[in-house]
């Protein structure tokens, strides 16, 4: 994935190792050993999990953290590969686009933990008796939480490649393959990396949730931080949960410093701007790596390979090539394609109906929607509460640059932290004081996602032009008038971006938040999340499908009817500059 970054070394001196090499070498070898170790663990038979079950010994935590991290890494690699293929297909073929993009839109609103129910069964059957099956199910769950927005970002970038660069690639005879690696991918890079980071943030939540899986009679506990916490809950061990939280903090910081900072700093050159930015992102890790000599020399073969691959003169198959301008697309092929799509859809609809109607009646559907509206009400109330709290706080912080600089990374970090690790702490309080689960379990839904609102509002307030602030000050705009006329419209587009993410995350979180337990005490709040969670535990597939479908419908409608119009309004009327 290094794209022509590294220049050919001047031989001789370049190969002599320096001090930085020693540091970097230790890091690389350490990573290799850990990867091999983790790999060995996964091919073991499933029964080994019973022989060496998860234990609450804190000494095991680093190892568990490693396993969790490896799952994340694997999922992100899968997501990137998927993104490249899917986005390229959707962007280059008009007919594929007709199906792929709406599909992606729906997939985005399917609750991720819902996928888990099916994939666990599927993957366990695929590799019977091996840990690998369970591992893959877990990786797949993370993948589904990461891939969609990355793919969307890549697709949108590919559709918006500047026309002059496109003409330049044509004019200089670059093949479709070369164009993809030389133009499409670099152009999409900044958006893709940003979305990958957001995906990773979301991913921690799901990796933790999917390590201890119970589907009907099958219970798989994969060694990891998530299962450690699950065990801690079972044994009512609060210190263990504290340890897990601390470990997770360390892991996320390491991930950020060792992986994402360097990547962001490196990818800065792909930003499509014709002027140099005032402050370029920096990373000590990347600086360290760039200072090494021998290690950099090691990467030259990879750079050369990458160069060779991206230079291959592969033309896209004729069907995928952009139609010659002016040539009208064939109507007959369009009709056949549409017919095919309609037929497949009808068949799928019929099969789904057939399967569900065998066990479910109209009353089930109505009750599922009923639960859905309860959860919807929770989401709305919680977003409103989070807005009331975090918008003023975010504005206050954002208008103080020094403070914003320090708080912003913290808010982003809190958004990445898997809130479900902290759930037990809250559950203990609810149990101890005998609080109403229907009310007090709700805040858990927004525990991890409220930070998106905070850091977006901070970003918006920091970006608010100082001349407008000064103008407002000189006209004595104060109090509520200042909020309504000046700052709220100014941060609106940022706030909406944050609120959309927060609301989507809350829906997902409802599946784990509406049902909670501490030892033998089980708390359940009425709602769609609890409905799906209970059905999953009972292995009641028709109800799981129904619950997921209802959630899908509600999320999609909620997005279309509320968030999208607000977003469009913000972009059209309130975007500054």
């Amino acid at each position: 994935m290094t794209l022509q970054d590294i220049r050919t070394p001047t031989l001789g001196q370049a190969l002599r190792p320096n001090v930085w090499d020693a540091v970097a070498l230790v890091l690389v070898i350490g990573a290799m050993v850990l990867i091999v170790y983790g790999g060995e663990q996964t091919v073991r038979p499933l029964s080994s999990l019973d022989i060496a079950p998860v234990s609450l010994d804190p000494a095991n935590l680093p190892l568990y953290a490693l396993r969790t991290t490896m799952r994340m890494l694997l999922a992100i690699v899968c997501s990137i590969v998927f993104t490249f293929c899917y986005a390229a297909l959707a962007a280059k073929s008009r007919r594929a686009e007709m199906v792929l993009i709406p599909l992606l839109d729906i997939l985005q609103s399917v609750p991720i933990l819902g996928f888990l129910t099916f994939t666990v069964v599927f993957f366990l059957n695929l590799f019977p008796g091996r840990v690998l099956g369970a591992e893959l199910a877990c990786v797949f769950a993370i993948f589904t939480s990461q891939a969609w927005n990355m793919t969307f970002s890549m697709y949108q970038s590919m559709r918006n490649v500047p026309k002059d660069l496109e003409e330049a690639t044509q004019s200089f005879h670059l093949s479709g393959w070369q164009r993809f690696w030389r133009l499409d991918v670099p152009f999409a890079m900044p958006g893709l990396i940003w979305n990958t980071m957001m995906s990773m943030s979301g991913g921690w939540f799901f990796v933790v949730a999917s390590e201890a899986i119970t589907v009907g009679n099958t219970t798989v506990t994969l060694p990891g931080i998530g299962s450690y916490v699950a065990l801690g809950i079972q044994q009512q061990n609060l210190p263990a949960i504290g340890n897990a939280i601390l470990t997770m903090l360390a892991v996320i910081i390491a991930y950020d410093q060792l992986l994402f900072r360097p990547v962001v700093a490196w990818a800065d050159k792909f930003r499509f701007e014709q002027t140099a930015a005032a402050t370029a992102p920096s990373s000590w890790m990347l600086d360290l790596f760039r200072r090494t000599r021998a290690l950099r020399a090691l990467t030259y073969p990879f750079a050369a390979l990458n160069k060779a691959v991206s230079n291959l003169n592969i033309a896209l198959p004729a069907g995928l090539r952009a139609p010659a301008k002016g040539a009208p697309p064939s109507r007959i092929v369009d009709v056949i394609w549409l017919a095919l799509v309609v037929a497949t859809t009808s068949y799928a609809a019929w099969r789904a109906y057939d399967y569900l109607s065998a066990t479910l009646g109209l009353s089930d559907i109505l009750s599922a929607f009923g639960y859905g509206f309860v959860t919807l009400a929770r989401v709305i109330v919680l977003i409103a509460l989070a807005t009331l709290v975090w918008v003023p706080v975010g504005v206050w912080i954002g208008l103080r640059p020094k403070l914003a600089e320090r708080i912003q990374p913290l808010a982003q970090f809190l958004a990445a932290f898997p809130a479900n690790l902290a759930f037990p702490v809250f559950v203990v309080i609810i149990v101890r004081y005998g609080l109403n689960a229907n009310v007090w379990l709700s805040p858990l839904m927004i525990l991890g996602t409220q930070w998106y609102i905070l850091f977006n509002v901070i970003a918006g307030a920091s970006a608010f032009p100082s001349d407008l602030r000064e103008a407002a000050g000189s006209f004595h705009l104060e109090g509520w008038r200042w909020w309504i006329k000046v700052i709220l419209p100014g941060i609106f587009p940022y706030y909406i971006t944050g609120a959309i993410t927060a609301s989507g995350g809350s829906w997902n979180a409802s599946i784990v938040a509406e049902v909670a337990s501490w030892g033998d005490t089980h708390l359940t709040a009425t709602g769609l999340g609890a409905y799906i969670a209970t059905a999953t535990e009972a292995g009641d597939f028709p109800r799981v499908v129904l619950g997921i479908a209802v959630m899908c419908v509600l999320v999609t409608l909620f997005n279309r009817l509320l968030w999208r119009p607000l977003y469009a309004f913000g972009e059209r009327r309130l975007r500054l500059g």
Partner: protein, 436 residues
């Protein structure tokens, strides 16, 4: 094939037409029956207004667009994609921001599969030739506009094309930089140091065309056609201040403002007639300012376009465009390279703001049919409102979507100034209400 002229012709265009689909599904013709032959050893300029199809013609030769009808060949072979031996320089530079200068220059060679050692040598030679020495490892965003366009030139030259295509290569640069780059290029050309046989350049800058080209094809607009072919026999290096040079520039200005045979009651330079007139937005501030300038000394109602353009620091294209808007509204008259105020124009210059608005409104209703139409519809409807879509549909029967956008923008802006009717952007409706 055996025809000796054909064999030396680098590019040959015969009877080429090109249309784009309009909103209504009909075709909008941008090029009609264009013939052009490019021989070895000449710099040919395509000069014309924006929208005269000159860029389209360049892209047809570059193999980026196919002609709707007619023949386009490059060295005797039909053009079906970007032909070998043709390279292009872009107005916007089209550099890859993530590649260094050297990598950008090498790009074209890599695609040709040229060995890396040869590639490096050739790229460095091109960088050296175009005066980019020392900038090899810089990224485009670190360079000034002029340096960026030098990279654009080096990237095109490094493939040793027979024909170099340039799409307004200097128009994104400031005046000084553009001039330096032009003279550098002409010097290299005269000294025979450029690894190319011919150049075809698109420009709307008349002086630039006279300064650089051996042959200038003047394009008329709507649809684009070759209106005239002018040979420039002045020896290089040419001096802008020489009388012969000035004369040539003046005569091209005159030719470009000449009235075409009046086959339709169309207004010169403005595409379409009646409601289907394609309007291009010019702010009412600019129009008033131009009228005032024209009315005041030294022009006193009559200005020579090249003089006016250089004193206002406007491109020929812009001054034409402003002049035509004034002509459409009958505030001034364009002829033989001059812009002359009409009686109404002189009156306008003397009036106060409110009276100016009234006069402007009168002329809008009288001479811009779509204004009259909208006003009539609003008057007739009991609610005195009408959705914008109603008029957009009508406009799109005559013109392409983006032209309809531009026309609507002009309508709204002029009507607001003249206080003819109001427009609410959020609900996209016209109405008679004015908030006062």
């Amino acid at each position: 094939m055996l025809d000796p002229i054909k064999q030396t012709a680098l590019a040959d265009i015969r009877g080429v037409c090109r249309s784009f689909p309009k909103g209504s599904g009909e075709e909008l013709r941008v090029l009609e029956n264009v013939d052009l032959t490019i021989q070895s050893g000449e710099i040919v300029g395509l000069l014309g207004r924006s929208g005269s199809g000159k860029s389209t013609l360049l892209r047809i030769i570059a193999g980026l667009i196919r002609p709707t009808s007619g023949n386009a060949t490059c060295r005797g072979e039909a053009i079906t994609g970007p032909p070998n031996g043709v390279a292009m320089v872009f107005q916007s530079f089209a550099l890859f921001p993530w590649l260094t200068v050297l990598q950008n220059v090498e790009l074209g060679l890599e695609a040709l599969g040229i060995d890396s050692a040869v590639r490096r040598t050739r790229a460095l030679a091109a960088i050296d030739l175009i005066g980019l020495d020392g900038f090899e490892s810089a990224y485009p965003k670190e360079l000034s506009g002029g340096m960026r366009q030098r990279v654009g030139f080096a990237r095109a030259l490094v493939v040793h094309p027979d024909l170099l295509l340039m799409d307004e290569p200097f128009s994104a640069l400031d005046v000084l930089t553009a001039e330096t780059l032009r003279t550098d290029l002409v010097d290299l050309w005269i000294e025979g140091r450029l690894p190319i046989k011919s150049v075809l350049m698109v420009t709307h800058n008349i002086e630039e065309a006279v300064l650089m080209c051996d042959r200038i094809l003047v394009f008329s607009s709507n649809p684009g056609r070759v209106a005239a072919e002018i040979k420039v026999d002045l020896p290089h290096p040419r001096n802008r201040l020489e009388p012969v040079f000035r004369q040539l520039v003046d005569s091209i200005y005159a030719r470009m403002t000449q009235r075409a045979e009046p086959k339709t009651p169309a207004v010169e330079g403005i595409q379409g007639t009646g409601v289907g007139m394609v309007l291009q937005h010019v702010s009412s501030n600019v129009l008033s300012g131009l009228i005032e300038t024209l009315a005041a000394p030294p022009y006193s109602g009559h200005a020579d376009l090249p003089v006016l353009a250089s004193s206002l620091q406007l491109e020929a294209d812009e001054i034409f465009h402003f002049g035509e808007s004034l002509q459409l509204l009958r505030f001034a008259q364009l002829s033989e390279g001059d812009l002359v105020l009409t009686e109404a124009g002189k009156r306008f210059a003397d009036l106060e703001t409110d009276a100016r608005k009234k006069l402007f409104a009168e002329h809008l209703l009288k001479f811009v049919p779509v204004m009259g139409l909208i006003r009539r519809v609003l008057d007739e409807r009991p609610s005195h409102t009408a959705p914008q879509a109603r008029f957009r549909n009508e406009l799109e029967d005559y013109m392409a979507e983006d032209q309809a956008d531009e026309t609507l923008k002009t309508i709204v802006s002029w009507a607001r100034y003249a206080e003819l009717f109001a427009y609410d952007e959020q609900s996209e409706t016209f109405s008679l209400e004015n908030p006062h």
